[in-house]
Symmetry: C2
Subunit: 252 residues, 2 copies
Amino acid sequence: MSDTVTAAMIVIGDEILSGRTKDKNIGFVADYLTELGIDLEEVRIVSDHQDRIIEAVNSLRARYDYVFTSGGIGPTHDDITADAISAAFGLPCTHHPEAMALMQAAYSKRGLEFTQSRKRMARTPEGATLIANPVSTAPGFRVENVHVMAGVPKIMQAMMDSIAPTLKGGAKIHSRTVDCPLGEGDIGAPLTAIQEAQPQTMIGSYPRFENGAYSTQIVVRSRDEAILQQTVAQVEEMVAGLVKNRTGVVGR
Amino acid sequence: MSDTVTAAMIVIGDEILSGRTKDKNIGFVADYLTELGIDLEEVRIVSDHQDRIIEAVNSLRARYDYVFTSGGIGPTHDDITADAISAAFGLPCTHHPEAMALMQAAYSKRGLEFTQSRKRMARTPEGATLIANPVSTAPGFRVENVHVMAGVPKIMQAMMDSIAPTLKGGAKIHSRTVDCPLGEGDIGAPLTAIQEAQPQTMIGSYPRFENGAYSTQIVVRSRDEAILQQTVAQVEEMVAGLVKNRTGVVGR
């Protein structure tokens, strides 16, 4: 469809891959972009190694309208995202004058020294556009279609709010969920028939397994509200028909 | 290091990318592999599109010792992982005789019809090795170094337990955490010096931001317990020195 806007996300950090920290940013960004009508099409979690970050950035920025990264823009030695993004774009990584001024003012106000480590957080690919950080000043930045954000969830979320007005949204996807007290094995064939008859919808089916029994949530999504309603009606009718005829045992 | 064993994970499913379902498998697999001494080096979340799955599988299986996938092996039209893995390996996707027998027996016992949809769950790349599913019978499968598991967390976790004895573990990484009541901006420079002096460790620093103040968790990891202890002692000494001299205000 011509009115789709696409995105990818890159989560940067050894701590996610080791399991030490459980990511909270992917789900947030997924929800946020869906709300804006932007399709998140791929996510990669990579380690704090420059080659891995460069490879992910360059392959994803060529393919999607937007790329969002989280993590690796703090003041310590393992925060190498600014260097990696600079290298990915072939730009020098320098102290951004506007970021330096903002941070100098903020640290002065708080009576804190603007240390060399803290100055690391003002480094960006030369000419980058800053992304405001209302939580703790040190900004994120954007180069072309790549948006670089902090990994700390509260800060990342505030940065998404700063970015949102600059993004081009797509036609919003509407979605409706039908609860189905049967397993996927019972609905697979008729659901496939409905999906084939309604190519402008995306029908997902999500099994639940609780207390030894299966049930299914059927999610119908479409950019066209009328087609969505029509398809949901067909799904509900299909489920009602099967429930009426079922034998009493539910299995996937 | 020659005793490292590496892995990647692929999470397959539109529902994760839309935000509808929040992934619970990445953190589990990350913890699990760390415990086995296997380094999870990359994770990709891809949509239910064959091309995307094939691309991720082929690029990751060439690069890492093991690949683990979750999602897309259920009985409905959007479950295309078996087809995609088959295509990635250039193998036909067929009903696996052993899986068919297992599932036929299980459904008979429960008085359920072994529908065409359910039979979809017995499809694997030809010659695949099955991965036992003690929760709901329908197995996962392995082709070479690629392990294909269900997306439902309880089932995925049971499948990991089935796989674990077959995996070659690496030298286990030991880890120790030092709580630091200072922000990263204060410890960045001395921590960098310690990291440079101790190349056999990986030192991560993870800021916390709570009630308007920063603190940091410093995590030291190493495959060598003696080096780890020595490095942790250096980090603790560094932190104690800074705390003694601090001015009373803590900022990132």
